[in-house]
């Protein structure tokens, strides 16, 4: 574990628990290797174009450290995310039912406690407030840009 502890000076404190968890599994299995990916991020958006744009930005930021899981249908995300060990969720708002509000509410009620970053073209203050009340951790206005997305990532401590 010494080698792992030394690594801690080089990586974000927020990532350390995940790294240690993964390393301990590989260590017990009798070998040590760099564990990638160390994050699993859900992209929930009915727009293929929008998911591709976001994925491209997240790849720039995290490279192979993040596994990006695409959900074109929010109903599938609602089923998979609470038990899927997701590090964070990027969630669109305006989608066929369940919409982003309902999905957000459901994920929080199901016990999902990690960051949920709402992404929407809806720039209304009332919408942002509603998301905050429902448990959103951050809000990114579309269109996506690196600056806005990275700022949200910093804000939630990813």
């Amino acid at each position: 574990m010494t080698a792992i502890n030394n690594l801690s000076v080089l990586i974000s404190p927020n990532l350390l628990p995940y790294l240690l968890h993964t390393c301990s599994i590989t260590h017990q299995a009798g070998f040590f290797s760099t564990p990638f990916p160390i994050m699993k991020i859900a992209l929930v958006d009915d727009s293929v174009f929008s998911r591709k744009q976001l994925a491209s930005i997240l790849k720039d930021r995290f490279g192979e450290e993040a596994e990006l899981v695409h959900f074109g249908r929010s109903a599938e995300a609602v089923e998979a995310i609470p038990t899927g060990d997701y590090t964070a969720v990027f969630l669109d708002l305006v989608m066929p039912p369940p919409d982003g509000f309902a999905t957000l509410e459901h994920l929080r009620q199901a016990g999902y406690e990690r960051p949920i970053i709402v992404c929407s073209a809806d720039i209304q203050a009332t919408t942002k407030e509603r998301c905050r009340i429902l448990g959103a951790t951050a809000y990114v206005e579309k269109p996506f840009s690196k600056e806005k997305t990275f700022a949200a990532i910093e804000e939630v401590g990813l």
Binding site: P96, A121, I123, Q124
Partner: protein, 202 residues
């Protein structure tokens, strides 16, 4: 000008155009951010029609159009529409996807890109309107229609009462021949509600 609009005080109409200007600016900024071109904005106009909305946007009478339509679920009764000629939509999809498309290739991926563009521009325009007027709008998912001009703007949304376009704004991409129109179509009741909100605010 219709009776409905002439009944609206000048100050309210000015305020409505100003609010529309803010929203259009927001939409244009988003379009420019997505496409990388400067977007030229024409001053939004207020218009009103009864049953022939197609006549309002004569530029598209002879062309196939791509329309992205998003209904308001609450806050106001109506819909917002982004209209492009089909050729314009293909040109925009080219830029968004960074690949050369022809008319036959205007398939699901290109349509998804245009749909998202519409969602963003409509969100910019109507979201600004909501913010300024203190109205909370919620939206249905946007829909795309690729068709001739026979159902321009109205689509399948038929109401017995007259409808008003309160905003018609043209966004032109500088450096290429692509124009688009954003329009908000409201029921008379919502139009009256909106003008009352403005009257209260000024």
């Amino acid at each position: 000008m219709s009776t409905l609009l002439t009944n609206v005080p000048e100050a309210v109409r000015d305020a409505l155009i100003e609010v529309a200007n803010i929203g259009t600016g927001r939409a244009a900024a988003a379009m420019s951010e997505l496409l990388g071109n400067h977007v030229v904005i024409e001053v939004p106009s207020l218009e009103f029609f009864h049953f022939d909305p197609a006549a309002s946007i004569a530029e598209f009478q002879e062309q196939a159009t791509v329309q992205i339509i998003q209904e308001f679920v609450s806050g106001l009764q109506g819909r917002a529409v982004l209209i492009l000629s089909k050729q314009g939509a293909i040109g925009v999809a080219d830029r968004l996807l960074d690949e050369e498309l022809n008319e036959e290739a205007f398939g699901p991926t290109a349509q998804s890109a245009i749909l998202e563009l519409g969602n963003i521009l409509i969100g910019g325009l109507t979201g600004s309107l909501g913010n300024v007027l203190g109205i909370s709008l919620t939206y249905a998912p946007p829909e795309i229609q690729v068709r001739g001009d026979e159902h321009l703007l109205i689509g399948s949304w038929h109401r017995s009462e007259p409808l008003g376009i309160i905003v018609k704004a043209a966004l032109r991409l500088e450096g290429c021949d692509i124009s688009s129109y954003l329009a908000i179509v409201l029921s008379t009741e919502s139009f009256n509600f909106l003008t009352q909100k403005l009257q209260d605010a000024i």
